[in-house]
Amino acid sequence: MSEVAAGQRQRSLAADLVMLTKPRIISLLLVTTAAPMYIAGSPSWFTLLIVMVGGYLMAGGANAVNMYIDQDIDDRMARTRLRPIPGGRMTPRAVLAFGLALAVGATWLLARYVNVLTSALALGGFYFYVFVYTRWLKRTTPQNIVIGGAAGAFPPLVGWAATTGTVDLTAIYLFLIVFYWTPPHFWALALLKQVDYGRAGVPMAPVVWGERETMDQMFWYTILLIALTVIPVAYGAFGIIYLVSALALGGALLWGVIRMRRAKPWTGAAWWVYKYSLLYLALLFVAMVIDKKI
């Protein structure tokens, strides 16, 4: 009987360790890391594997440290109440140690088997997420996810550097695309969870500015995003396949945001924007790869 209980505890610990890394969020980060590797060149399967593992460990480490820092507010939000620390299943110190160990492992792995620039960029994303977003901006300004969104924009730089050993203009545009995609994506969720954020004292845009202004800003950021996705075509980085894809995907996102601004109630439309924006970013990067390889 005690062996069964011990087995269950081990399975529970393994599930909690995976939960600390936020695997669902990381899956999109890995798409925006892998695609630039193939846009920039033709990496080996080994390099791809190492970058994927290193990227997962670095992002997972950042997410675990984020849960350590946010332990006081996670308990006040329905969305985060079941995480390992507020759930009482892991100690804060264990979570911090786990997160730092993942980051150290990822730094070594990427530097040893890919290159130092790739490792430094991945570590830069870790620091940005932990210190600039979580520690500094998240609880002080409604612009938190705008500036903090830069953390999620590091993966394209990581992927590009892994293949080329450098960062150039197209890599910067990929960074900017993810950077400007973050506000319409995250504010759709923040609109839906604004009561939770308000209760936890996190000044997300809908809590501070109200729903109307947040939706207006989502609209303008979507316009900005679509315009930016077109510019790499102008200097020859991508061709017609990508251009048509970018305009079609961006048009659908813009339509969703406009529909949300007009809808009463708007919750169903906001969910659509949130979920579609995830698909949008993944398909946009896939379209870039197809355009380069055909």
Partner: protein, 77 residues
């Protein structure tokens, strides 16, 4: 397709300037009162605006110098 650059850059800049205007006009205020919070709020919007302008200028310069970009890969040579 280089003629796409100017309209796309103009749209991107206009949208970024709206975001900046919303903060300057108080439509998107800081989370707490006070001059310091307002200054920080403006800074967080000015910074991306400056980065965006810098990248657009860099792109414009590269477009004016065909030798600077490999037309196939888009990678500066």
């Amino acid at each position: 397709m280089s003629n796409l650059f100017l309209p796309a850059a103009a749209v991107a800049l206009a949208a970024q300037l709206y975001v900046l205007w919303a903060v300057l006009a108080g439509r998107a205020p800081a989370s707490s009162p006070g001059r310091r919070a307002r200054f920080a709020e403006i800074t967080w919007v000015v910074l991306p605006t400056l980065v965006l302008i810098a990248v657009l200028v860099l792109t414009w310069n590269r477009l004016g110098d065909p030798m600077a970009i490999n037309p196939v890969s888009g990678v500066p040579t």
